[in-house]
Symmetry: C2
Subunit: 369 residues, 2 copies
């Protein structure tokens, strides 16, 4: 039976297609070890609500009606982003804990808000659940979303629950706000602007490789389960969206352009350069590559710089900054490391300066070489 | 390669998981008969943009950045809804044309806005595409969304494209606006209010059964391909969300409560009654069941009234109306048939008056009897 409960819409679908499933509303309640198929949609919603704080005063109609009704924030523009994580495409449940799946799904969206300089406000959570998903894993997934939402004062205003005949799908829409003229676009970079990135690049790509290796080798192997592995895998599993940094950059107008690195630094440099009508030189020697990630790549015969700039899943920010505004940039740092990795150029070429020679910037996070 | 192009975020996912796919940005362009896997994400976005009108002036940053930036409408509250249609759960591609899939996905969302009395404003379109989906079907699906969006002055502000390792998934978030005090809730019905429904009930359920029968019997059978079938199947495939009716009801305050019938009339009566703390009597003799649907149900030994109120996919509205405000209701009709089917009661029971006796209202759109 389909149920709507507020901003939440819960549905099972067409009756005949649905015949194989067992999420009947009259079904017995699952124990902690049961699957979501043994729970009614109302019970699943209650489990979500149990992990959410009380709705803020600007939620005029919350969970329990056809749709959520919200009072917009005065004198702000609104920023919208949607992102889906799909099992078998964006994550592998064999080595990605459900809490990390929830965290990463929301982090990907928050990172887009950060790249616009927006403050997070609300999210809508649309989940397609395989019947075999355990209630415990469901709670952990929702917990991963709820914890990150709470850390960034984002309110989950509603959503949609349905069963999936195949992969687990986590589709999240986020809404943030920004002052009209302070939205950070990709198109403002000018020749001579320096290219900065937050924190490290390549850690998530290394972390994903480590998780896969661990999984294939059997995770009991002491050689891969180490604190070194831990640091990179945590960056892959629990990326920290740079919301505060984005806000500071938009408020103090330090950056002429901004974009997140979800698809890798090479891709971000290319996108900003193309949108801004400029070229770029990235200096491999300047790249902030975590020592653990570098060691991992090099031990496998890889080129750490290439791996780091073409690997995805680093939810860091790239900012274009005029050299004379470097002080503003420093003021916006708020504790996050910032590294200059190159500059935008009048020449439209995209160059990687690496090991003493200039080569074309690789095509970014490409899966098809 | 993952690409973002404005409000659009396009991604393919982790490289290793992705290795089997062929949506390389360097891949050759597909002809009209090619699949989406042969197109780059940029090409897919261009095909979407080609079907969309120019962005309205309140779109401050549109397709081509990390997120969409929008100027909110003054003095209005915002209404948010999200809904996903999943192949194998909510539709069967064997007998649902791609244009209808796109139409239905957006209609389900618009129906939620209608039920709140909201005016549609923007949508975000998140698609997970099987590699085998043809480019032509992709265009038709997007065309179904675009045509309905345009009919309701809704702007597609951005979205997300990813490949799916399994089913086609169409996840849509819509945003509408409503005056603060005019949002139509489920909780306002009072004992004595009449229950009205728009247009017909059960037509979509009959249409779905007809499509399945056609498909199983082979569609060349002249006995089922008739104009009778056509009328019901069109109601299933291309439901018309009651946006104008919802707007009128919210503006003239004719309704004390409102909800859409996506999960069937029995479910809607139950939900509104529960939210409002009242009971209800539905009179089967009053139900507006299309003659074709009635004939279809009865020819198969079904009880037309039961089938019509428990079947889903009718995107009609239920409104609770005080008898003395009946004139306001008439004024809000705007050409859509409106039928009184019963009343809310002080007694909390939910009753179906049918064939001379009172029975409990069936449990709505249940797939698990």
């Amino acid at each position: 039976m389909r149920n709507k409960a507020g901003g939440w819409r819960l549905e099972a679908g067409d009756s005949e297609l649905e015949a194989g499933a067992s999420s009947a509303s009259g079904a017995p309640r699952a124990g902690e070890s049961g699957t979501v198929a043994a729970l009614t949609e109302r019970e699943l919603i209650r489990r979500i609500q149990a992990q959410l704080p009380a709705p803020p005063p600007w939620m005029l109609v919350g969970i329990g009606d056809d749709a959520a009704v919200v009072e917009p924030e005065r004198n702000r523009a609104e920023v919208f982003s949607v992102d889906a994580l799909i099992e078998g495409v964006h994550f592998d449940r064999a080595f990605t804990p459900p809490r990390a799946i929830g965290h990463r799904a929301l982090a990907a969206n928050l990172s887009d808000l950060a790249a616009m300089g927006a403050a997070p406000r609300l999210a809508l959570l649309s989940l397609a659940l395989p019947a075999t998903l355990s209630a415990e894993d469901f709670d952990a997934l929702v917990g991963g979303v709820a914890a990150l939402a709470s850390a960034h004062r984002l309110h989950v205003a509603g959503g949609n629950l349905t069963r999936s005949p195949g992969p687990l799908v986590v589709d999240i829409t986020v809404v943030g706000t920004v002052k009209r003229r302070q939205a950070l676009k990709r198109s403002g970079a000018r020749a001579g602007d320096d290219i900065y990135v937050t924190s490290f690049v390549g850690s998530a790509a290394a972390g994903l490789q480590m998780l896969r290796a661990q999984h294939h080798e059997n995770s009991s192997s002491a050689s891969t389960v180490s604190s070194v592995v831990e640091r990179c895998t945590q960056r892959y599993l629990y990326p920290e969206p740079r919301i505060r940094m984005g806000l500071m950059l938009s408020r103090n107008r330090a950056a002429t352009a901004c974009m997140d690195l979800s698809d890798g630094l090479a891709d971000a440099v290319r996108q900003v350069a193309e949108a801004s009508g400029v070229g770029a030189i990235v200096d491999a020697a300047l790249l902030p590559i975590d020592a653990d990630a570098r060691a991992w790549f090099e031990a496998r015969g890889g080129d750490a710089a290439i791996e780091a700039i073409t690997g995805g899943d680093d939810y860091e920010l790239l900012a274009a900054v005029r050299p004379k505004l470097r002080n503003r940039l420093e003021a916006a740092r708020s504790g996050v490391p910032l590294t200059r990795v190159g500059a935008f150029t009048a020449d439209r070429a995209l160059v990687l300066r690496h090991a003493g020679r200039d080569a074309p910037l690789p095509p970014g996070y490409s899966h098809f070489r």
